[in-house]
Chain length 161, copies 4
């Protein structure tokens, strides 16, 4: 991926504040491990409370980690005043979420003024071995306050903006 | 949707047992509300522990409910000895998950010996109003024990079987 | 689905003109069969030129029909000056595209100023029998000319708008 | 991606034969540019017959190229007697398909006896510049003849197999 230039010089603090404002991440035990413009790595320890009938972490919980990774990656490139919402994502589950620790890596594929497209991968760390267990392809949307939208910002000539 | 004939006459008890064996559903407070062959309705009360930065339920948690609804709907049509795994799903988020109670309705679009395709919708109940907040399109897979697979069960002439 | 109110009173002529302006639809032989606000039915006859290795219509061609049905359905609800682009879609292939005629039905699940969400289904007509062969879940985007965007149109309080 | 070991020593000829048996690829003018186990590159020249209302290649046609790239990549890793079908895919459209030539690169993310997961990217070459215009995440299925399925081949312990 190309390196991205953040629009918000304080992107780092803003992104961490947005992440910390999500009780769901605290409840699931998801933490930020690494953060740079358009790229992020989150991690979560195994918790029996979030398993399915075979003792693996539930696909929805893995998806919560992947979705958050995408959201955080997209948010690093958004302007200061933006809020972020997920439009849609697809999760593909390649292997059972069996392990002691789970890692969610996301990167921006294409940033845009309105829509940002991300990809993410989930890995399970089990007995010293790391396995790719899931992938995500997602669309995130920047929500700008009304005032900011008065200035025409979108060009109809470009897509994804 | 056409009515479906369950292969497992004890599908009801088997499905409830599979659902109850998932700690994640208990942790999220998801319950089965209604269950028939190929169709299911789950529900979950609002919990501040699973919200994102705006106080709405996190998209990943909504996805966990939708995915489980798909899994339960698919499982009702699977043979007695089958276990079930999610292959992939796409979640589209139409509106914020704001409400006191959330409902997840899923139905089987096409059952098959190996793959079953489902669709699900999530609704938020907020101040007496019900809003469609998310949709899911998902693929589930039946995992049969080795023995059961010795008999040739798939016909190469039909898809999704 | 709820009935939708078109923003453009001339939506019918505008939609047909947009459809007719697509050489790809002419080449594939796709035609509009039925059109109302937020709902559309397209049809296509079998053509050996668009088959895959088993003589079925190629999944990409079925997807072209489904995507166009979504685009047309979404376009009926867009304002007069809007152009439309597909953001993303997922196609699920339930059965082989075997038949003499194929029908693509789409409807808007949620319209919005910027993003419109649609669902579509493809059917194959084969020897007097109609079979559901594919489903689509898609996101479409309205592209407004710069001038129209100077007026603040989005409310940060609502999603999908 | 890890290098993959083909199960079929004659994978190259088998894959080319499968590709050449698809009239749709000939009609669209899609050709194999590069082929190795689990990886493929296809290309297609611009054709006005497959454009949409703005003169760009129709999203469904780009999807046909991406889907075929996924199918070809997956097929290189399948056993000799297998046929292949697409289960589902998601296409994300990042930029208009404007250009003189389009390239579709796919790679297998995880091969399996029954299901193979692939990712693909479409690029437009326009006035000497190459732009990423679309991504795909897809699931492909191996269809084995009845005889081959009598031997138990699936292990219930592993996913995606």
């Amino acid at each position: 991926m190309a390196a991205f230039e953040p629009k918000n010089p304080g992107y780092r603090a803003a992104t961490i504040a947005m992440f910390d404002a999500q009780p769901a991440m605290r409840t699931l035990g998801v933490m930020i491990v690494r953060l740079s413009p358009g790229e992020v790595e989150l991690a979560m320890l195994h918790s029996a409370a979030f398993t399915q009938q075979n003792g693996f972490i539930h696909a929805g919980i893995i998806t919560a980690g992947l979705d958050n990774a995408c959201g955080v990656a997209a948010f690093t490139l958004m302007p200061e005043e933006a809020d972020i919402l997920t439009v849609e994502f697809k999760t593909t589950l390649l292997a059972p979420a069996r392990g002691e620790r789970f890692v969610f890596k996301a990167e921006v594929v294409k940033p845009g003024r309105t829509l940002t497209f991300c990809e993410a991968r989930a890995f399970a760390e089990h007995e010293g071995k790391t396995t790719l267990i899931a992938t995500m392809s997602g669309t995130l949307m920047a929500m700008l306050p009304r005032k900011a939208q008065q200035t025409p910002r979108m060009s109809s000539a470009r897509r994804g903006d």
